[in-house]
Structure formats: C-alpha cells, structure tokens
C-alpha cells in the first residue's frame, strides 16, 4: 500500500540540520549543466502567459552528487537503457520483417531533434501523440508488430533512445497543429485541479512551493524535459506518465491510466511549461 505514504523520501541527503532546521538552504543552484562538453539550457525565459518568469530544469534542484551523474554520459546510469534502445532500433520484429532502422536508417540523423517537438498532433487518431505512442503506431502500422504495453517491452528504452537524439535541443511544441490548443487548455485545468484526500494540485507543489523542501524532497518546477529520467531510488528509467501517476497517487487520488486523455492533456501542457529548456534525456533524478 504505497499510496498512503504521503511523500516520497529520497536518498539521504546531507541536509545542514546542524545549522538549525529552520534555515534549510533550498534554492535552485546557480550552476551550468554541461553534458560531454555541450552546454544545456537549464534556465530559459518563460513563454508568454507562463506563471513563472523563468523556467528551470529539475537538474538545478538536485544534489551535487546527482547533478554530477548527469553531466557525464559515461557515468550516467540511464545510458545503459538508452543503448538497449539503440539495439532495439536495429532489431527486426513483426510480420513485415522490418526494424526501425529499415525505414529510418541512422537515428542520429533521422531522429535528430524530433523528440524536442513532441507531443504533436496526430490526425489519424484525432489526439496528441507522444513518442511512446508514435513508436506503437510504427510498430502496428509499419512493422506488423504488437504495440508495447505501458512501460513494457522496450518502450522506455526506445523512447529514451529517440529522445536522446535531441540532447541539448530546446523543447518547443506547436500548439497551432490540429486541436492542440484545446488539449493544452484541458491540461492546464487539470494542473490546477486539486485531487485526492490531501486536496493538492500539481500547482500546489510545483508552482506555489517551488524551491521549498517537502520533507527530504526539494520541490522543482516539475519539468519533463529529461524524460524518461533515470531515478536513483528505483534504479531504472521512469516514464513521464509513470511520474505523473506517482504524483497524483501521492495526493491519495485514483490515478488516470497511462496515455488516457487526462494524462495526454497534462503532457501537452507540462511540456509547454518547459518551453526553451534543453532535452536532457536521460536525466538523472533522486
């Protein structure tokens, strides 16, 4: 019964309790994320209509140890799964006898910067599509393979592999496509809706209390530019919808299904809230 434990306790962070518990230092750090020599945009001017002046990567809110793990792809533990994704890319599956590479060739070229612009509008299904669903679409339509179930098979690894081809590229989604604006509206409404017995919305934690400590956790803006992220606590890649579901569960509410209209709307809106931040996949978090 995980869902009645209010807040996630992270690994033991050496908080300066000695300095007096009231004076816990909890501002985002003034530091620059450079991955393999390439500078990431971890602070950006917020787009028009955003509640903050500046959008900030969750990286700025993590401990020095966690931050260092992300700055070097050789030590980033999430890279193992990204490499697995690379192997899946070249693996033939399904009745058409094809791999991703059969059609898309070298991902470094064909998938470069693609992930930075998702979710996109998908006119076939009449709803927004994220990388996970686009992969499933290609598996079904183009490969004659079964779609992956949520977080199963190679879904997280392949999604991370595709997203990693946008490392450093600023997040930007086109709300002019199809009905994207309506989904953004719906996502915004959900972001401010209080849920569960604890009666909290995403904004209660990630907007009103951004930068504060909630028990052992330093509250960030709840950005998704680094997903799938490698979570040290779980020791594996965590998908965006898994993270959304976890945060909703922690308010003691029923969780919407992965890829449901609710979570797709939330993904569109939360992606927009991170406009301008570099894609960091696979980011490392506590």
């Amino acid at each position: 019964m995980n869902n009645i434990s209010l807040f996630i306790t992270g690994p033991v962070i050496a908080l300066a309790l000695a300095a007096g518990i009231a004076a816990v230092k909890a501002d985002p750090v003034d530091d620059t994320l450079t991955i393999d020599g390439k500078e990431m945009i971890s602070r950006a001017k917020a787009p028009e209509g955003h509640p903050f002046d500046e959008v900030m990567s969750g990286w700025l809110f993590r401990t020095a140890e966690t931050r260092a793990l992300e700055a070097d792809t050789f030590v980033n533990p999430g890279m193992l799964e990204v490499e697995e994704g690379g192997a899946i890319w070249n693996t033939v599956e399904g009745t058409a006898g094809k791999s991703c590479a059969s059609c898309h060739g070298d991902a470094a070229e064909s998938m470069k910067d693609v992930g930075a612009n998702y979710p996109k509008w998908d006119s076939d299904s009449g709803r927004p599509i994220n990388i996970e669903l686009q992969i499933n679409k290609c598996r079904e339509k183009n490969m004659g393979a079964e779609p992956y179930a949520f977080d199963k098979g190679g879904q997280k690894a392949l999604t991370a592999y595709v997203k990693h081809q946008s490392l450093g590229t600023p997040v930007s989604i086109d709300l002019g496509q199809g009905e994207m604006q309506n989904w953004w509206d719906r996502g915004k409404e959900l972001y401010y809706t209080r849920t569960g017995q604890l009666n909290l919305s995403c904004a209660s934690c990630h907007e009103a209390n951004m930068g504060k400590m909630i028990r052992a956790d330093h509250l960030s803006q709840g950005q998704i530019n680094g997903f799938p992220t490698y979570r040290l606590k779980q020791g594996k890649l965590i998908s965006v919808h898994n993270r959304f579901r976890g945060c909703i569960r922690d308010t003691r509410a029923e969780m919407p299904k992965a890829f449901s209209d609710e979570l797709m709307a939330l993904e569109v809106y939360v992606t927009w809230r991170g406009t301008g931040l570099s894609v960091e996949t696979p980011a490392v978090r506590q």
Partner: protein
Amino acid sequence: MRLGTVIATLAIASGVATAAVAAEVAPGDVAFTDDGVAMSLTGTAGDPDEGAKVFKNKKLGNCLACHANTAMEKELFHGNVGPVLDGVAGRYSTEQLRAIVTNSKQMFTQDTVMPGFYSLEVGKDVTKDLVGKTILAAQQVEDVVAYLGTLKE
C-alpha cells in the same frame, strides 16, 4: 484498511472507550467560529505523547513534511512549505489550533496547501478505499492539538 487498523489500535492503546467514539463530532458537524473550534471533537482530553507520534508519522499527520519543529530535532528532514511550529502555542489558542488541524481552509484561505485533517472537503477522485474517510480520526486531532499546546517559546 491499514489506516483503519492503525486508528483502531491507537484508540485501544490510548484507552478510548467505544462510548467516547460514539460521542464524536462528525467531520461535517464541526462548528467553526471566529475563535476557532471551541468544543473537543471527542470529549476525551488529548494526549500530547500520542499527538507527537501522530505528528511525526508519515502515514498519519506527516506534519514534518511541511513544517520544521525544533522540539523534534532528532527527526531527519523537516520541510519548509509551512511556517516553523516552534512556539506555536503562544501564537494561537487551543480552539484556534483545533480549527487549523481540523480544517485549515476554515482558518486560513481556500488556497492553503495544508490538508484538512478532519474534513471531508477533499480533492477530486479520492482513492476508492479512502472515500468518506478523514486523514486523522477525531481523537488523533485532539492528541495533535494537545501536542501543539506543548510548543511554547
């Protein structure tokens, strides 16, 4: 279910008789006035030691998630979403503290992020097994209020 068991166990441990439970004020019937909540929710005096346990327990009050409290210095990780509770008994009367813990929205504003611990004014889509249930039992609220009463400068 587990929460229920915990509550039942606590109730027995602190010697709350069934009769006292029956005399409880229901969450919807708590009377808030400008002075707070005057009447005890149970008629049984709160136990500050039990209150300290509820305060700390992550599955019950989890007050430290949002509040620092120097009296609990030994506990790791105090949040700072809400104010430091040192000396809170000097800032509020018992009636006001009871109101804050019962349903903070009545004392502060509707926008407060502090949960109402004995209130059914909750968010959408509450986990099925918690529908109609409050975070704390009435006696646990009384115990926490008694504990807060010990936090003097």
